[in-house]
Symmetry: C2
Subunit: 370 residues, 2 copies
Amino acid sequence: MAVGGVTGSGPGSPLGLHRVLAPAGVLPQAAWQLDPRPALWPDEVRVAVERLNLDAASFRQLREATGGAAADMRAEVGRIVAERGKMQNPVTGSGGMLTGVVEEAGPESPLGLAPGDRIATLVSLSLTPLVITDGLAGWDGRSEQVPCRGHAILFGRSIATVLPADLPGPLALAVLDVAGAPALTSRVVGQAARAAGPGTPPVVAVIGAGGKSGSLSAAAARAAGAGRVIGVVPARAEAAALRAAGLADEVVIADARDPVALAAAVRGAGGPAAVTVVCVDVPGCEGGAVLATADGGTVVFFSMATSFTAAALGAEGVAADVTMLIGNGYVPGHAQLALDLVRREPGVRGIFEARVSEETRGNRPGLEEK
Amino acid sequence: MAVGGVTGSGPGSPLGLHRVLAPAGVLPQAAWQLDPRPALWPDEVRVAVERLNLDAASFRQLREATGGAAADMRAEVGRIVAERGKMQNPVTGSGGMLTGVVEEAGPESPLGLAPGDRIATLVSLSLTPLVITDGLAGWDGRSEQVPCRGHAILFGRSIATVLPADLPGPLALAVLDVAGAPALTSRVVGQAARAAGPGTPPVVAVIGAGGKSGSLSAAAARAAGAGRVIGVVPARAEAAALRAAGLADEVVIADARDPVALAAAVRGAGGPAAVTVVCVDVPGCEGGAVLATADGGTVVFFSMATSFTAAALGAEGVAADVTMLIGNGYVPGHAQLALDLVRREPGVRGIFEARVSEETRGNRPGLEEK
């Protein structure tokens, strides 16, 4: 797999269209099959893969479908990648991200990467050409983090970031995985703060503030000028951890799927919110998020469990004049902003370290999965 | 069904929570079953129904499931409403709207309606308590417009509008059905125009500009300060009609599901767009809409066929810094804004009259459905 050399007949499409085998004309993410051969088009980069980080929904589906035995998990991921030329779970449609070392950068690549750089991709595995060469022999099938040898291809318009030297690898990976949320939260809260003026900084509610994207978003909201940050969590233990982390001015417990209870909890803590950020990955949170938000306010949905129609019809159904944003995983500068928050805020770092440690424990044979 | 009198034991919930029978604690839209009895809580309004306007997705599903014979269509709609206390298609989740005459307004109703007012509801049938009393005897099952006798209940926070005297009923109904799109388009384009300054008015692309919500959105974009309106339609006939209507500065033909073709068409017509408005009700338009939009621009998704994850992952996948909005069907003043556009713009009125006439022809026995 050390084959190199620029063999594309011209510059590649920055979107990777030249790697789409089927069906014709779609973007790589929508494609059934990509061409993952190692030879580069002039604007591409080839990465020697070290680790795949499967997305949570995909990992759960694979475990349920195969029963979770190591050999079966390895075989299933291997089969998908061999068939599709990328690790996109055919059931969930989702992928994940990867880390590795740059092997070769085409002469026209705009990504600024050089051989030897240790990087993480910030675009989904669901659109990244991939070949696995070690049969995933180092994976016990019990963790979303998959040791892996092989190569992956980055396009001209892909996004990748050099892994920071000052943070442990698993921590940095966990932060980069959710970096879009704090960046967009920062932008939206900053706009709201400027619109409101210095005397009345906006109230921000973060639903699921005890999690990874939630804790980062709470810290980003405060840094961007929030007047009061209300953190909503589902249970007492998480509330205690969030209080200890000091990331929210008020911490309240509510079931985000119960719209009346959620709205009452946020209002009782100083709401309604000018900006509500939804970071819980369960379906049915749209109505409560809308009701917790003030007229003229904004809801940002980061959860992949969000239903477009439930949000649209739900807001109409209660005559709520709220702006509803689809959380875009890409905001310029998002990786740096998220890593800086973790460096600067011990509360965020503590929550991440606890989560990463839990995930690592989940990797021990014999431990019950939660 | 002429039973009246205020019988609620206190003010109702403005959201209608007191009418939810099952499951407990959810909003009326998410409920399986509502209590549609005619006696009013003090802040409610009862309407004598004249016509249901089923939403297009629901009507299509009903026709396919029943085969479309009048007796079967009547029986199926009757069964749903008897069982659920509202006309919410259990398969599509969608409803529609209704017209009727106000029968009684509770003393604490904030809606400003009086008995005798002929109104249209602007909240979905999927959350409106409803009883049908005539077995839908006047409906031949061939049109989304369903003559109907019975009653419906409006809550304190429901939205309804008195039907205008100067426009034919079916035309007004068709306009009100999509009134959220031009109102939100007007707001977003107005913001973009102010941000850009007077010298560089924003380019606006309307995908599906030949349809009802699309033509209104194109007209609203121009009125709100768009510098150039690019209308995208799927076929020649529609392009000719849109050109004749004069609502777009450029009219281009492209398949909105083909991202590369759509982006190329918009760019070729003076794009990329600062604001892209998606009004086509087919799945798979997310990627093209993102690619057709300039960095820093905004995409507004009005189509109920929009996939939240496809939009979120799609934008990330091409590193597009675009703001993506979930089209909220409610914007204050939306009914008036939409009706005024139809009154003022002969091009919009022409497109609506042609569409309404097509739908009426679809109602004739023996005509092929398209």
